[in-house]
């Protein structure tokens, strides 16, 4: 079942030497095989009803397919590489392979110019894509937190390579650097969290943290285990550190890793810049899969997080603030990929909030389910939007939608699929986003009305900015066809087919009885039976109103947006400049770290430390020069000195004798 993993590596290595077309076909085919295998795996897991997968009470179990020792630290602390199959990993297997396959297919068209000539480094692109898919799959099937960390780093690296794919462009290089370093910084937190957790518990295994064994290699999620971990830490020598329990620290630090990968607020700055990569990459990595790794991580350790209320609160607050912030910023961006990037940040924050507010006592952890559901639907419609954006960019040759306008007549397929994506993300019934978002809002409602209102507002903003984008691209005014440019048109089948497929999924995915498959403890939950129509109606209403406002403002060319902008210049400015986070980071990294720490240290090293060493040499040298006069070779001087000494001795002797 895990053979695809090995295949990716081989493909990644061999891909370098192949012809363009072969590499493309092979990469896509490889991914296709993996897709089939993943579907088969997921299908088997969910529907076979084997006792390995479902307990007699109907609880879905965690099944360890294999687990090999990779690095043994000491007797019981071992890093293993393994394959853990449970609802969420099966879910992510499906998501990743689907999106990845679509992207592989799509890239066959995207990575050429209009005359069908392949871009430079086409094979490299496929090799990296395969590497990424491999690492991401490794991440989701991880049996222990350290394996997750390993693949976590690997996806970071492949993301780095893919963002910097156009390595001749300085902006791409700096974006890739930024992405890697920011996530690396977050990973530092993750690593320390792992160290703390593993030190106190003596294990890395997820199953030891959150589940109780049912049979050999089969585990069921159990709150008692998590409680046991909490007690274990509380019973250790120093359970409290700086006012918070060690477990809280560990969980918050691990969450920090998730924050980095999932672009939560203080560490979000890399994601918009990451859009410098080729658009399919943005769709795969920076919208659908890698960025949800943080959500996945929290979901993985969910029972542990349940133990620490404060950690949950932190997750909720961070998520809520990020969601609002990103939505605000998305309203003012003019680069279409950036809008989508901020929308991604906002949507992931939705998932985070949902996890944060999840409570087993409220609809059996509705938030968890909602989060995973949203992860699934979001992956589909956001990939759709990105691929659609890619098609637009490929047709127009620019990311800037002030150059697009009125494209609906030229690119009908793209138009329709993009519209579906927008409707899905805005949460219009019956598109998939409606259901998942509605679950999230319900979960928030179950937590507190503040969270509910806040998230509803963000949902409204989401609908607004997505339709602002949509209208500005496809309506607003006639497309200004410029001299020398051919008219934009729909793309070849390799590009449109993924769009259509994804649009179809985005349309119907919401009707999947998700609760039957994924829930925090594996017990099925009837989502539709508990559907809260009042909340749904409110959220639908909010979304429709937001869409209407957007339509009013952007459907036809009119001065209203400019007026709005002038009415609130400060707010607009701040939003447009992303609240100056980048500038703040630039200030911290360049002014403080580079100029304030590195340079002084380098100076200190060259001048003080090395100066001391050179100083020793200098003093020795000078001293030698000073005393070399004594060894002048001038024999008369020697005699003088000798004579003076001898005479002095003689005189002293004479005096003494007398």
């Amino acid at each position: 079942m895990a053979i695809p993993l090995c295949m990716f590596l081989i493909l990644g290595l061999l891909g370098m030497k192949m012809s363009h077309k072969l590499a493309g076909i092979l990469g896509t085919a490889g991914m296709g095989v993996t897709l089939v295998l993943a579907y088969f795996t997921a299908f088997t897991y969910f529907f076979s009803g084997s006792p390995d997968f479902v307990s007699s009470e109907g609880q879905r179990l965690q099944y360890i397919v294999f687990n090999v020792d990779w690095l043994q630290f000491y007797d019981n602390l071992v890093i293993r590489l393994g394959f853990l199959l449970d609802p969420i990993s099966a879910l992510l297997l499906v998501v990743i392979t689907t999106i990845s396959f679509m992207v592989h297919l799509y890239s066959n068209g995207y990575m050429r110019d209009h005359h069908g000539v392949y871009e430079h480094g086409f094979q490299r692109f496929y090799a990296f894509l395969s590497l990424f898919s491999f690492s991401m799959l490794g991440l989701v099937v991880a049996t222990n937190i350290f394996q997750m960390y390993i693949f976590w780093e690997l996806v970071g690296a492949s993301s780095y390579l893919l963002i910097g794919f156009y390595y001749v462009k300085p902006s791409a290089v700096s974006a890739s650097k930024k992405a890697f370093i920011v996530t690396r910084f977050a990973d530092l937190g993750f690593l320390i969290g792992i160290l703390i957790l593993s030190f106190y518990t003596g294990t890395f295994n997820f199953t030891d943290f959150t589940s109780a064994p049912v049979a050999d290699g089969v585990y069921g999620v159990s709150l008692d285990t998590a409680q046991g971990i909490k007690n274990l830490i509380a019973g250790s020598e120093a359970p409290i550190f700086m006012g918070a329990s060690v477990l809280t620290w560990a969980l918050v630090l691990i969450f920090m890793g998730g924050m980095g990968k999932s672009a939560m607020l203080p560490l979000h700055i890399w994601l918009p810049d990451a859009m410098e990569g080729p658009t399919p990459v943005s769709a795969l990595i920076h919208a659908a899969t890698m960025v949800v790794a943080g959500v996945y991580l929290v979901a993985r350790l969910f029972p542990l997080y349940l133990m620490e209320h404060s950690a949950m609160v932190i997750i909720t607050v961070v998520g809520a603030v990020t969601a609002f912030y990103a939505a605000m910023v998305a309203c003012t961006q003019i680069d279409i990929k950036r809008v989508l990037a901020f929308s991604t940040i906002s949507q992931i924050a939705f998932m985070m909030v949902s996890l944060g507010v999840a409570d087993p006592n409220f609809h059996e952890g509705l938030g968890y389910m909602a989060s995973m559901f949203h992860l699934f639907t979001h992956a589909m419609f956001k990939a759709l939007l990105f691929l659609g954006a890619g098609a637009l960019i490929h047709a127009i040759g620019s990311n800037d939608y002030t150059e697009m306008h009125g494209l609906r007549k030229y690119m009908p397929i793209t138009h329709v699929t993009f519209l579906i994506g927008c409707l899905a993300i805005a949460g219009i019934i019956p598109f998939s986003g409606f259901f998942s978002k509605d679950e999230i809002l319900s979960a928030c409602f179950g937590n507190s009305w503040i969270a509910y209102l806040w998230m509803s507002m963000v949902a409204a903003l989401t609908a607004f900015y997505m339709f602002r984008l949509y209208f500005l691209i496809f309506w607003w005014k006639e497309h200004p066809v410029r001299q020398g440019h051919h008219t934009p048109h729909d793309q070849p089948w390799t590009m449109t087919l993924p769009l259509v497929i994804l649009a179809a999924i985005a349309t119907v995915a919401g009707l999947i009885p998700f609760g039957n498959f994924v829930s925090w403890n594996g017990e099925p939950y009837d989502l539709f039976g508990h559907f809260d129509w009042s909340i749904a109606a409110v959220s639908l209403l909010v979304a429709v109103v937001a869409i209407l406002v957007a339509a009013k403002m952007y459907m036809k060319e009119n001065p209203l947006p400019a007026k709005m902008k002038n009415a609130m210049p400060t707010l607009w400015d701040w939003c447009h400049h992303r609240f100056y986070w980048d500038e703040l980071y630039m200030f911290i990294t360049h002014k403080i770290i580079f100029n304030g720490i590195c340079r002084p240290i380098a100076w200190f090293d060259r001048h003080i430390i090395d100066g001391t060493m050179d100083g020793f040499a200098y003093v020795t040298n000078k001293a030698s020069y000073a005393i070399r006069g004594l060894q002048s070779g001038s024999i008369q001087m020697y005699v003088w000195i000798y004579l003076i000494g001898a005479l002095a001795l003689g005189a002293i002797t004479a005096v003494c004798i007398l």
Partner: protein, 103 residues
């Protein structure tokens, strides 16, 4: 008048001091060498005198002087070879002017 030991020692002392004076003041290497010979000679005489007065019949002092003379000869020969060589190279045998080989 009895020529006791002191009568021999005083002139050699003066001879030695002359050697010291010459060695310290001369710049010409050969002159320095000559001064050196003076000192050496003074010491030789002392050996002989002490041998003669204090240990008549024994020959240690005499032999010491004998060897000293031999060594002085060797040393002088070698020194003069060097001096001539230096003169060839530097056209000068003033010790104060020969700085090339220093340090």
């Amino acid at each position: 008048m009895e020529t006791t030991m002191i009568y021999y020692l005083i002139p050699t002392l003066i001879m030695f001091c002359c050697g010291v004076y010459g060695f310290l003041t001369r710049k010409n290497m050969i002159a320095m060498l000559i001064s050196l010979e003076l000192m050496l000679n003074a010491v030789d005489i002392n050996f002989v005198v002490f041998n003669r007065y204090l240990f008549p019949g024994q020959m240690e002092g005499m032999f010491f002087t004998l060897f000293a003379i031999a060594i002085a000869a060797a040393e002088t020969a070698l020194a003069i070879a060097i001096i001539i060589n230096v003169f060839r190279a530097a056209k000068n045998i003033d010790v104060t002017d020969l700085k090339k080989m220093k340090f």
